[in-house]
Amino acid sequence: MHRRIEWALIRVIAGKEFRDRIRNRWVLAVAIIFALFALAIAYFGAAQQGEVGFKNINVTIASLVSLVIYLVPLIALLLGYDAIIGEKEHGSMDLLLSMPVTRFELLLGKYLGLAAALASSTAIGFGVGLLPLISSIDMHDFVNYAGFVVSSILMGLAFLSLSMLVSVSARDRVSASGAALGLWFFFVLIFDLLMMGALVVSQGYFSSSAFGAVLMLNPADVFRLLNMFDSVQIQNMVGLATVMPDGLTDPMALGAIMVAWIVVPFLLSIWRFK
């Protein structure tokens, strides 16, 4: 059966979600957190080399990547885990679904509204973090920093998709929050440990390219790789990224994989929600 998608309705739902996050100061709070971290890292990022001050954008980016890889997935998962189950538990879902809106439109509207809140707070927060360095950077640095911000947003959207899948699958908000935190632990803390453990245990049995490909199964690792701008950095990168095959260091390929991390969980959410 063919049902025309009404984008106006998606806009209404997305607009409400976004305005809600503006109203309850979620966007502001997250932007402030990101800005404070960005400023602190920009100032103290080179402390290991015995320097402090707003000096080097590449050092700032490298330090920010380490922070963002923990923070953004957590914020995205916490943002989206109750998007659907919250409405169900709250008792307002039936009324929403009795409106002339399809489940797909409802889910997409909610996702886009939350995505807009996450993207704007990330862009504003890290934008502010760039200000002290603005006089000392050239276009190449600016592009690198913009790439870092965009990839942070993409990683956030990927984890937001995962949280939507959690939200449509969970029986209640408590189990949804547990699942969201579980995903964060798995992708951010456990996945790389498992990979390194497997590398050590296998003692070179598996090829490095196979391990590199397995890294694509974690959007946090895809983000990490997206922010290594040349092969030298890749080689110098600590941990698992040293095993990356050349094909998967191409930013376009990595970007496409990140987009897949956004799209696939969202499609699964739609399937579950129906």
Partner: protein
């Protein structure tokens, strides 16, 4: 153009092994006010959800305003449906007017309608206040207001007077009558049976996922023979003689207790009982006659479904 607002044909709905609705058929004409009543677990909520398209039937077919509920054009039908859930829960962070704007945008109804509807339900004074500060009655009024957006041709009301004070209930039904006079079809559930019995054109009594009985109140009364009850307060020491006065009447039940007597009889025997009572008027201090209420019918059909069939 069909004259039916709702056509349900042989619909069943199961949740795993549990059958919530079994082979149910129901047809509701345009402009009717139908009261849907039944015990908890009788299947009312599931039927409501099915009619609203919130859940799919396991088998059977549902048409709303001639359109199949899972058909591709059902969205346009939805624009003409108003729904007030049992507990209208909405967004506490928005004002009443903003809630109305949100739902009007979803229904593609001009926002300009919102003020007039809020005034109609008596909420215009609180339109700009946050819903978090609303009383339960005010929330219910707001729920009713969103339900009226877009001048719906079909309205579903699930326990609509929950939380309303007597004035609110009176206002609610006066608006509902006004709405019905414009040809709107209304399906309503309420656990306050006395409240809806005089206000609906048809009652549908549900039991165990099926329709136990349906019809007007008088039709239901005539189908299920329930007694009229005379409650009599007697003068001191008159009880024994009084009880004996009814011994010649067949098929009546009389219970006495000190100065109280309760006589239950069928519809055909009411005049005979009244005759005996008038002969003993000198020992009667007070008399109340109670006809079978909707509660009695409900208990009769709901509790003795098998006997009624």
């Amino acid at each position: 153009m069909t004259n039916k607002s709702i056509e349900i044909s042989n619909v069943s709905k199961s949740f795993g092994d549990i059958r919530a609705i079994t082979d149910l058929s129901l047809s509701i004409n345009k402009g009717e006010i139908v009261g849907l009543i039944g015990h908890n677990g009788a299947g009312k909520s599931t039927l409501f959800k099915l009619m609203l398209g919130l859940t799919n039937a396991s088998s059977g077919q549902i048409r709303i305003c001639g359109e199949l509920i899972d058909g591709s054009d059902f969205r346009s039908v939805r624009r003409g449906i108003g729904y007030l859930p049992e507990n209208f829960i909405t967004y506490n962070n928005l004002s009443g007017l903003e809630v109305m704007h949100f739902f009007s945008d979803l229904k593609n109804v001009p926002r300009s309608q919102c003020d007039a509807i809020l005034e109609r339900v008596g909420l215009n004074h609180a339109a700009d206040r946050r819903v978090s500060g609303y009383s339960k009655g005010m929330r219910q009024r707001l729920g009713f207001a969103q339900c009226l957006l877009g001048n719906p041709g079909l309205i579903f009301l699930d326990e609509p007077t929950n939380g309303l004070d007597p004035e609110g209930i009176r206002d609610f039904y006066s608006i509902l009558l006004e709405v019905q006079s414009q040809g709107v079809t209304v399906v309503i559930t309420s656990h306050i049976l006395a409240e809806i019995q005089e206000r609906v054109s048809r009652l549908v009594i549900m039991n165990a996922g099926q329709i136990a009985a349906q019809g007007s109140l008088s039709e239901l009364r005539s189908h299920l023979v329930l007694p009229s009850v005379f409650q009599v307060r007697l003068k001191r020491d008159a009880c024994l003689d009084f009880e004996q006065a009814f011994t010649h009447l067949q098929g009546i039940e009389i219970e006495t207790n000190l100065q109280e007597a309760q006589i239950s009889c069928g519809q055909q025997q009411k005049l005979a009982v009244l005759g005996v009572l008038s002969n003993h008027a000198c020992v009667i201090e007070d008399l109340t006659i109670r006809e079978p209420s909707l509660e009695d019918l409900f208990l009769g059909y709901g509790g003795h479904y098998a006997q009624a069939h």
